[in-house]
Symmetry: C2
Subunit: 270 residues, 2 copies
């Protein structure tokens, strides 16, 4: 660079990007890191399996972990720094604060996993304050999580812009998830019925919420290895019911494939 | 300044200080502004009567307001900027986030005013994010408020240091409070029994919690215009019960003088 203006523009682009993860990184995470790399001067990837967002009986203890591989993958994708705190660092004795989102935290995944989103909101408030990023990157696969975190950022005036990136899928359509590692061979094949059901509903022509849900339900009841927990069509902008003024519909579900609980969603114009 | 080092030291002292208030400023607030002025390169005073921290039937509607006088007083004491947002600016439609402190928010003032401290913590999280101060100044008069906000700052990793400043009192001992403006002439005289009772307990020699509380109770029952709501001796470091390892005791009370609810406290070594 030779011009002062050019240099100033370069220096002004000093945004920090944060990609918060629970580790066991896959292409979904790495797509976030690469997007942050394009848009930010420095990229921080946090890896923290957050106990607050796991309920009793959930998979906190056996959640897959591979910090060495994660570090290599994150650096390769463009991370400048990894933040891998211990549980006691983020939640020392006497920790008492909880960030909640009345109403929006209790539907869909929040109804199925009580306390889950308070745990998510609380740890992300902490990470935002520790890293102080101008931008934070999250995936559309966890649609309600992205919705809630964006809501919290606005409500609490965090000086951070949330960038929600598209779900990354395996060639056969299954949404990338660290929990896919739990799937046995047959379960892994059966799991492809989940995105197929969502795409079929999206592409069937109707945008009536009941019709969308019913298409998914029908497609999945014929799969012996899959137990649908819920499927729900909601206004993507509010997570409330689909209304006349709804612009986009979030069609989301949770299902068990064997013992593994997976979530997925598609968004469709009304 | 002539030396580069000296200049660097001056520039490095660019801390922002925030003094959050509900306005109707008195010497207590102004002592915070002056302290911030001494320690910070720039001082922001926020004035916002926060509806979230008032319960139904409390005095939100009639809380005293005088923004013009406040602006003049704050500037005179050293404020560089006033932040006086509208309610709809801080709580737009759809606002849903709540910051809570499990356990510590439910005792003392929190027990008497359910939801009060969630309102305090939520608005202060917002102000911290909007102003981004290196230091924030609060008064010891609202001891539990200062305790909770310090707790929240640590728990959520806000990059702000909380500076708690001594209670400022009228010449006759009454703690400065915007709510003193509610007191009639006789009530104003009667109210001086509150600090007298607290000082008497502190100076009576015993540090047994029951003895401290009893001294206050006895001193105030003889005052016909005063109705004690609670008096409580707690570990100042935890707000829990006084224990063998307690270093300092917070002796705090709430009382009604006529219709006006006042709070006050003293801290005493064990």
């Amino acid at each position: 660079m030779r011009g002062a203006e050019e240099m100033r523009a370069f220096v002004a682009r000093r945004a920090f990007g944060l990609v918060p993860t629970m580790g066991y990184l896959h292409e979904g995470h790495l797509s976030l890191v690469r997007r942050a790399r394009e848009e930010c001067a420095a990229v921080v990837v946090s890896i923290f399996v957050n106990p607050l967002q796991f309920g009793p009986g959930e998979d906190f203890g056996r959640y897959p972990r591979d910090p060495k591989r994660d570090a290599a993958l994150a650096k390769e994708a463009g991370a400048d720094a990894l933040f891998m705190p211990e549980v006691v660092e983020l939640y020392p004795e006497g920790f008492a604060t909880e960030v909640r989102l009345r109403g929006v935290e209790d539907v869909l995944e929040g109804a199925a996993r009580p306390g889950h989103f308070a745990g998510v909101a609380t740890v992300l408030a902490k990470l935002l304050n520790i890293v102080g990023p101008e931008r934070m990157y999250m995936g559309q696969k966890d649609a309600q999580q992205a919705f809630l975190v964006g809501h919290m950022i606005r409500d609490l005036n965090f000086p951070t812009r949330l960038v929600v990136c598209p779900t990354v899928r395996e060639p056969d359509g299954l949404a990338m998830s660290s929990r896919n590692a739990y799937l046995g061979e047959e379960e892994r094949i059966a799991a492809t019925a989940i995105p197929r059901a969502l795409f079929a509903a999206r592409d069937a022509g109707s945008t009536e919420p009941e019709a969308l849900e019913e298409t998914v339900r029908e497609a999945l009841t014929s799969e012996p290895l899959i137990a649908l927990e819920y499927v729900s069509a909601n206004d993507a902008a509010t997570l409330g019911p689909v209304e006349p003024k709804t612009g986009e519909i979030l069609l989301s579900l949770a299902a068990r494939v064997g013992k593994t609980r997976l979530i997925d969603n598609v968004v469709t114009k009304r």
